[in-house]
C-alpha cells in the first residue's frame, strides 16, 4: 500500500503514560531522531514528584512533549497535535490540552474496566463517542508488542515493557524520522543483555511496520529541516548545558572547580553530571546538608578554587547565612538555584520563578550579590560562564536563577568554539600591597573592579585573618567604628552596582511598538513566540529580556521610559515588576501565572493583544 506523504511546517507530539512506561526515554529518543534530521526542536518533560506513584492513576502520569519545525521555534508548543496515551490515566490527564482534530493514539489494551474506573471514567471514552472530535487511533500496543516478540528469548514482562519502543517505531514512521540513532542507543543501553537489544529493536520495527501496513494511518508526514546557522549541534537540556558551562568555566579560568551539593529536585542532575568530569579537576562533594554544601564550596573558594553550590529554592533559604558570609569575605562563589514551585516542598517537579526576591533580597543585613538568569536550555551554558566570570572578577557570590522549565527542557545547541569562550583567568595576590612594601591589606581594593585581593593560604608573607565581623576598610581588622561600617555597607552595595553588564537589547523589528514586554529567565521562549505571533498579525510589540537582574543593565531605565506601556509576565506574583516599579518609577503591568507550568504562547498573545490594542 502506498501512503500519501504530507508536508508540515511544525508538529507538537506529547507522549504520555504511566511513570513506569518509559515515556521520558521514548520522548528523548524521538527528539534525538528529530535532531538528526535537522528540525528545530524544543522539548518539555512533565513528571510526577513520586518515583512510582500507584500504577494507572492520574498522579502517576508522566509525559514528554516535543515540538519540531522547519523554522526556528522558541517553545515546546502550547497544544499537542498528537497525543500518545499509553493508558486511560494518560488520556484523561492530557485530553484537556488537545485542540479538536488532534490525533490521539491510544493503547487499547490498557483500557480495561478496572483501569477506567481507577481514573473515574464511567464509560469507555474510546467507545462512548466523547472523542468524536479527534482523530482517534486505537492500537493494541501491548498485545502487538508481545506478539512481535513471541520468538524472542525474553520474559513476558520484558516483552511488555518494550511497548514504548513499538510506540516510538510507529511515531517514527508517521513522521519519517531517521532511526539509526535509536538502534545505536538500544545497543548501548542494553549492551550487557543482547536479548533485550534484539527485543527492543524488534518492537521498534514492529511499530514502524505497523504504520506502514495498517489502513488506520493513511498519511505519513514530513517536516523538512529548519534553516539553522552552520555548525555542529547537539540537543541539550538546561541542566546538562549548565554543568558543561561550569566545566568550561574551570577550564577557562585555569582553576579547580569545587562543587558542594545536597540532593534536591530539580538540581541534582547537575551534581550527577559534574561528578563525571573529574579529569577536568572538578571535585564534587555530596555534603551532609545544604549549609555544609555551600560552606565547603566557600572553603574551597578561600583556598583558590572556583567554589560552586547547586540547589533549589528551599536550599537557597538554608544557604542564606553563608551567602552573607561570602558577601562579607568578598570571595567568589557561584550559587545555582534551579527554581521549582514553592513555598516549602511545594511542587518539586514543576516550574516557577518565585525565588527572584530571595535572590535579590533574601539575606540578613545589606548583602547584595550579583544575579543572572538563563533564558533557554542551551543558554544555561553561557549563563553559567557569565556567573563564574562575575564571581571570579568581582570576588562576589553570584546567584544563577535557572528553573525546572529550562533545566529539563531541551533544544538544539550550536556548539561554541572553546577559544571563543571568555578568558576567565584570575591573578592571586602574591606580594604585600601596603605602601611600606611589607604590609598586606586584604581589603585594599582594585580601583577598577573594586575587588579585594584574593590571597590564598599558602602564599608566604600574606598571612591574614578574615571573618564575618565587620572589617576596617583596607586592613580588614575587626572594626566597630560607626563611620567605617557605614562606609563598608555602602561600598559592598556600590561595588555590585558597578559591575559592568551588557545593555539589554530590545527586539522591535519595525521600531513602531508602543508596548514593551519585559521578561527574565525562562519565559523568553513563550514571550518571544507571543510577540512574533502578534507582529505577524500586524500588532507591533517590543520585547526585552533580562539576563542580569543584579546589577541591572545601565540602559534599562531609558528603555523602559521609551514605551507607553511595560508589561512584565512572570511565573510569580510580580517580583520583577515590583523591582521595576521601585527602581525606575515605571508603572509596569504585572502579568502572572503560578500554576507550576510555563506560559503558553497563546495565553501571552491574547493578554498582550488586549494591552496593545486597548492600552
Amino acid at each position: 500500500m502506498t501512503k500519501q506523504v504530507r508536508q508540515l511546517d511544525r508538529v507538537v507530539i506529547r507522549f504520555a503514560g504511566d511513570s513506569g512506561d518509559g515515556m521520558q526515554l521514548t520522548g528523548d529518543r524521538f527528539t534525538s531522531e528529530t535532531a538528526q534530521l535537522g528540525n528545530d526542536i524544543s522539548t518539555l518533560p512533565n513528571f510526577p514528584a513520586e518515583i512510582r506513584a500507584p500504577a494507572g492513576t492520574l498522579p502517576g502520569v508522566s509525559s514528554f512533549q516535543v515540538h519540531f519545525a522547519d523554522y526556528d521555534i522558541l517553545t515546546p508548543g502550547d497544544a499537542p497535535n498528537v497525543l500518545v496515551a499509553m493508558n486511560p490515566a494518560a488520556l484523561k490527564a492530557n485530553i484537556g490540552d488537545l485542540p479538536r482534530g488532534a490525533d490521539i493514539i491510544v493503547n487499547t489494551d490498557e483500557f480495561t474496566k478496572r483501569n477506567l474506573t481507577k481514573v473515574g471514567y464511567a464509560a469507555n471514552p474510546l467507545e462512548d463517542g466523547s472523542l468524536d472530535g479527534y482523530a482517534l487511533h486505537p492500537v493494541a500496543l501491548t498485545a502487538m508488542t508481545i506478539g512481535a516478540l513471541a520468538d524472542h528469548d525474553v520474559s513476558k514482562k520484558d516483552a511488555e515493557r518494550a511497548k514504548n519502543m513499538f510506540a516510538l517505531g510507529l511515531l517514527s514512521w508517521m513522521y519519517s524520522r531517521p532511526y539509526e540513532s535509536t538502534i545505536r542507543f538500544l545497543e548501548r543501553k542494553f549492551a550487557a543483555r543482547p536479548e533485550l537489544v534484539a527485543a527492543n529493536i524488534a518492537a521498534f520495527k514492529a511499530g514502524w511496520n505497523f504504520g506502514e501496513t495498517t489502513e488506520d494511518f493513511g498519511v505519513r508526514y514530513e517536516v523538512k529541516p529548519a534553516k539553522m546557522s552552520p555548525g555542529t549541534y547537539r540537543n541539550i537540556t538546561g541542566n546538562q548545558a549548565l554543568s558543561l558551562g561550569l566545566v568550561a568555566a574551570g577550564v577557562r579560568s585555569g582553576l579547580p572547580v569545587f562543587l558542594g551539593a545536597y540532593p534536591i529536585t530539580p538540581a541534582s542532575d547537575i551534581l550527577h553530571e559534574l561528578s563525571k568530569h573529574k579529569r577536568f579537576g572538578v571535585t564534587t562533594m555530596q555534603a551532609e546538608d545544604e549549609i555544609a554544601a555551600i560552606g565547603a564550596a566557600l572553603g574551597a573558594s578561600y583556598g583558590g578554587s572556583l567554589g560552586i553550590t547547586t540547589t533549589s529554592g528551599p536550599g537557597v533559604a538554608l544557604k542564606g547565612e553563608t551567602i552573607s558570609l561570602a558577601v562579607a569575605l568578598e570571595l567568589p562563589l557561584v550559587v545555582i538555584d534551579v527554581q521549582r514551585a514553592g513555598p516549602s516542598t511545594g511542587m518539586p517537579t514543576k516550574t516557577e520563578q518565585a525565588d527572584l526576591n530571595m535572590a535579590l533580597f533574601g539575606r540578613h543585613g545589606e548583602a547584595p550579590v550579583a544575579v543572572v538568569a538563563p533564558r533557554s536550555p542551551s543558554d544555561c551554558f553561557f549563563a553559567a560562564i557569565e556567573a563564574a566570570r562575575i564571581a571570579l572578577t568581582y570576588r562576589t557570590p553570584v546567584i544563577l536563577l535557572s528553573d525546572n522549565y529550562v533545566a529539563n527542557g531541551s533544544e538544539p545547541w550550536l556548539l561554541p568554539e572553546v577559544d571563543s569562550l571568555p578568558d576567565l583567568r584570575v591573578e592571586f595576590a602574591t606580594e604585600p600591597n601596603g605602601d611600606d612594601g611589607k604590609t598586606f591589606l586584604p581589603y585594599l581594593r582594585d580601583p577598577v573592579t573594586m575587588a579585594r585581593p584574593w590571597a590564598i593560604p599558602g602564599t608566604p608573607g600574606l598571612e591574614h585573618r578574615i571573618g564575618g565581623l565587620e572589617k576596617a576598610d583596607k586592613t580588614g581588622d575587626i572594626s566597630y567604628d560607626p563611620a567605617n561600617h557605614d562606609f563598608m555597607v555602602r561600598t559592598r552595595a556600590a561595588r555590585i552596582e558597578a559591575i559592568p553588564v551588557p545593555d539589554v537589547e530590545v527586539e522591535d523589528p519595525d521600531g513602531d511598538a508602543r508596548t514593551l514586554v519585559l521578561g527574565w529567565g525562562s519565559t523568553y521562549g513563550p514571550i518571544g513566540a507571543a510577540c512574533r505571533a502578534l507582529r505577524q498579525r500586524g500588532l507591533p510589540v517590543a520585547q526585552a529580556h533580562l539576563r542580569h537582574l543584579s546589577p541591572m543593565p545601565a540602559n534599562l531605565g531609558d528603555v523602559l521610559k521609551a514605551y507607553d506601556r511595560v508589561v512584565v509576565p512572570e511565573m510569580n506574583l510580580g517580583q520583577l515588576a515590583h523591582v521595576i516599579r521601585g527602581r525606575y518609577l515605571v508603572d509596569a503591568i504585572p502579568y502572572n501565572q503560578v500554576s507550576g507550568l510555563p506560559f503558553t504562547a497563546a495565553k501571552l498573545e491574547s493578554m498582550l493583544e488586549e494591552v496593545v490594542k486597548n492600552g
Binding site: S32, A35, Q36, S181, S229, P230, G231, T232, Y233, R234, N235, V247, A248, V251, P256, G260, H277, K278, R279, F280, T283, M285, A287, E288, D289, I291, A292, G295, A296, A297, L298, G299, A300, S301, Y302, G303, G304, S305, G307, E321, T322, L325, L415, E417, V418, D419, I456, P457, G458, T459, P460, E463, H464, R465, I466, G467, G468, L469, D477, I478
Partner: protein, 344 residues
C-alpha cells in the same frame, strides 16, 4: 597533609598583631599560648597553616594566630574547613570550636567531618556554657544546671563529646585540659601527626559564667583522685599512689574502676589507643561520673583509616591520568560528545 620543612620559627612568629580580647583569666589564654608555643615544633610554614573557627568565645582564636585564618559562621567551621582541606592538601587545617558551636548548632557538620575522616585537627574548647551570649546552658552543661535561660535548672541531658565523636567513627579522639600545658601540647602533637580527623576536647574554664567547672580536675588536692592519665601501652592506674585501676569486668560490656589492691595485676587494662573496635575507647569515654570522677585524659583512640581528602584526590588523579590533550582540547571533546549533527 602539609609536610614539615626545616624552619626556625618561635612562639612569637605565631602571634598576630591583634589585641587578645577574652575576659581576663579565661582559659582560652592558656590554650592560645600553648598552641602558639607548640606550632613551631611542627615545622610547617605559617602560610601553610590555617585556623578556621565558627562563632563563640573560642572562635575568636584565628584572629590571634599569625597564620591564615577564617572566623566563619556559628557551627559551620567543619564544613568550610572540609572544602578547604579537600581542595588544598598542602595545607595544615585546624578547626577551633566550642561546645555550643560544635555540638549544638554545628553538630551535623562535626559528625560528618569525623565520619568522612577529613584531614582536620578539631579543637573543641568545652566550657560547658555559652559565654559570648552571656551565660546560657550548653549541650554539655549538666542536667539541672541553673543559668540565665534555665532559672530552675536545665532539663536537657548533656552530650559526652568523646562518646559522640567515637559514635561518629572518629579515628582520633583525645581530651586535655587548658591549664596543663605539657599535657595539652602532648595531645596536640599526637593530633597533628594523625592522618585524618583528629578530635581534641579541651576542658576550658569560663571564669565569668561557669567558673571552676573543672576545678576538681585541676586542684592539686583532688586532681589525682579524679583524673585518669592515659598512656599508650601502660596499665591504667590512677590516684596519688596508683591505688585505683581500670578493669574489664567479666560478663560486662564496659570498663570499671576498682581498687588496685583488690585485683590481679594481670586484669588491669593496658591502654591501647590503636584498638580497632571503637567500643573500647567508648567504654573509656563513659568512665567519668557526673562529678567528673574518673575522667580520662590523653589519647583515647588513634586508628588508621584513609582520609576523605586522600580518597577524593585518588579519584581525581586517576581520572586525570587517563585524560589526554590540553584542557581546552578535552573541553572541546566533551562539548561534542553525545549525538551531534552538522549543518553546512
Amino acid at each position: 597533609m602539609a609536610e614539615p620543612v626545616a624552619l626556625k620559627l618561635t612562639q612569637k612568629d605565631f602571634k598576630s598583631d591583634q589585641e587578645v580580647r577574652w575576659c581576663p583569666g579565661c582559659g582560652d589564654y592558656a590554650i592560645l599560648a600553648a598552641v602558639q608555643s607548640f606550632m613551631p615544633e611542627l615545622r610547617i610554614p605559617r602560610e601553610r597553616t590555617v585556623f578556621v573557627s565558627g562563632i563563640g568565645c573560642s572562635s575568636r582564636f584565628p584572629y590571634y594566630m599569625n597564620t591564615y585564618g577564617m572566623h566563619s559562621i556559628h557551627g559551620r567551621a567543619p564544613a568550610i574547613a572540609t572544602g578547604l582541606s579537600v581542595s588544598r592538601p598542602d595545607l595544615s587545617v585546624w578547626v577551633v570550636t566550642g561546645d555550643g558551636d560544635a555540638l549544638s548548632i554545628g553538630g551535623n557538620h562535626l559528625i560528618h567531618a569525623l565520619r568522612r575522616n577529613v584531614n582536620l585537627k578539631i579543637l573543641l574548647f568545652n566550657n560547658r556554657i555559652y559565654g559570648l551570649t552571656k551565660g546560657q546552658y550548653s549541650p554539655t552543661s549538666e542536667l539541672g544546671k541553673i543559668t540565665k535561660s534555665t532559672p530552675v535548672g536545665s532539663a536537657d541531658s548533656p552530650f559526652n563529646p568523646l562518646s559522640l565523636a567515637l559514635g561518629a567513627e572518629a579515628t582520633f579522639v583525645a581530651r586535655t585540659i587548658d591549664s596543663d600545658r605539657k599535657h595539652l601540647q602532648s595531645v596536640l602533637r599526637a593530633a597533628a601527626e594523625h592522618q585524618g580527623s583528629a578530635f581534641v576536647e579541651i576542658y576550658q574554664n569560663c571564669n565569668i559564667f561557669n567558673d571552676g567547672a573543672f576545678e576538681t580536675l585541676k586542684d592539686p588536692s583532688t586532681r589525682d583522685e579524679y583524673l585518669i592519665r592515659l598512656e599508650h601501652r601502660q596499665p591504667i592506674t590512677f590516684g596519688a599512689d596508683g591505688q585505683r585501676c581500670v578493669v574489664h569486668p567479666p560478663g560486662g560490656f564496659g570498663l570499671e574502676v576498682r581498687e588496685t589492691a583488690s585485683v590481679d595485676p594481670a586484669d588491669i587494662v593496658v591502654h591501647d589507643a590503636t584498638v580497632a573496635e571503637p567500643a573500647y575507647a567508648f567504654a573509656l569515654s563513659r568512665l567519668p561520673g557526673l562529678d567528673l570522677r574518673n575522667t580520662p585524659i590523653g589519647v583515647l583512640r588513634q586508628v588508621e583509616r584513609s582520609s576523605y581528602d586522600e580518597r577524593v584526590r585518588e579519584q581525581t588523579d586517576s581520572a586525570k591520568a587517563k585524560a589526554t590533550g590540553t584542557p581546552e582540547e578535552q573541553l572541546a571533546g566533551l562539548l561534542t560528545s553525545g549525538d551531534t549533527w552538522t549543518i553546512l
